[in-house]
Amino acid sequence: MTWGSVSAFLAMGGYGGYVWGSYGVTTLCIVLEIAALIVRQRKLLRK
């Protein structure tokens, strides 16, 4: 285990903003892509 505490984990040795920023934006992109596809599929299958 590399991390002593939760706050140390979040701080990422002072690079927290960069590391979590990247993971955050990537997660957001993936969630939006899946959501857009679900909406597109539902619209097509309706009627």
Partner: protein
């Protein structure tokens, strides 16, 4: 038992198959992501030069690999569609483009967030970064060209030309760190020599690459199903499919 693979090259039989496969790819992606994250954050050690900032590698490198790989697959299907006039291959090419563009965007963005603390700048016009940006423009060019042409078969052909010409860019991206002096570091993993990184770091990165791979398959299959429905909505099999739905 022999499987007739050609059976699945027609949209009516590929549509249900893709629907059955999609959940498996999503589950595989989720499992690889959980394992990959655990290794990335709790097993892999701190880098002696870059501290914890290097942990960006676990999404940056897989996204960059996928951006190039998906482009080659897209160009391959576009080329098959152009040469043999097969509908489904061209639909596959169109379905791959948005995910490829997204992977390219993620690679550029995480690279930028990595560049700032390590190089002191968000962006430099060096060979690796510039060729990856060109890849993004190729994806966007392919998508907007197809969107601008009303007749889908003509859109397929025009898109295929861009996709095939753009393939030259992929080896340029890959070898850019060798051919030019770049700020970007060289490959840490290559087929010709042993990797220059800790084993656990490498394992984490490869598992995350598998996760991105499975994810890309899942969303591409979802998208190709939408494209099939859009393009074949006037055919009997789609009408039947719609009637059977409650």
């Amino acid at each position: 038992m022999s499987i007739n693979w050609f059976k699945y090259s027609s949209p009516p039989s590929f549509y249900p198959l893709a629907g059955k496969l999609t959940p498996f790819f999503f589950v595989a992606a989720a499992l690889f992501t959980v394992t990959g994250f655990y290794i990335s954050f709790f097993v892999a050690p701190t880098d002696f030069q870059q501290g914890e900032a290097y942990r960006l590698i676990f999404i940056h490198v897989p996204a960059a690999w996928m951006s190039m790989f998906l482009y080659v697959v897209m160009a391959f299907w576009a080329g098959v569609g152009l040469a043999f006039n097969t509908r489904l291959s061209s639909m596959m090419a169109s379905a791959l483009a948005p995910t490829g563009a997204l992977m390219t965007f993620i690679a550029l963005l995480t690279g930028s967030l990595w560049g700032k603390p390590m190089w002191g700048t968000w962006w430099v016009w060096d060979a690796r970064l510039t060729s990856e940006l060109i890849l993004l423009f190729l994806y966007l060019g392919f998508m907007s060209l197809q969107a601008a042409i009303d007749d889908p078969r003509r859109a397929d052909k025009a898109g295929a030309v861009i996709a095939l010409v753009g393939v030259v860019n992929v080896p340029i991206i890959y070898f850019s760190v060798k051919w030019w002096n770049t700020l970007h570091q060289g490959a840490s993993v290559s087929l010709t020599r042993s990797p220059s990184m800790a084993a656990t770091m490498l394992t984490g990165m490869l598992i995350m690459a598998l996760a991105f791979w499975m994810y890309s398959f899942a969303v591409t299959l979802m998208r190709v199903r939408c494209i099939i429905l859009e393009r074949e909505r006037n055919t009997d099999w789609v009408k039947q499919l719609m009637e059977q739905r409650p």
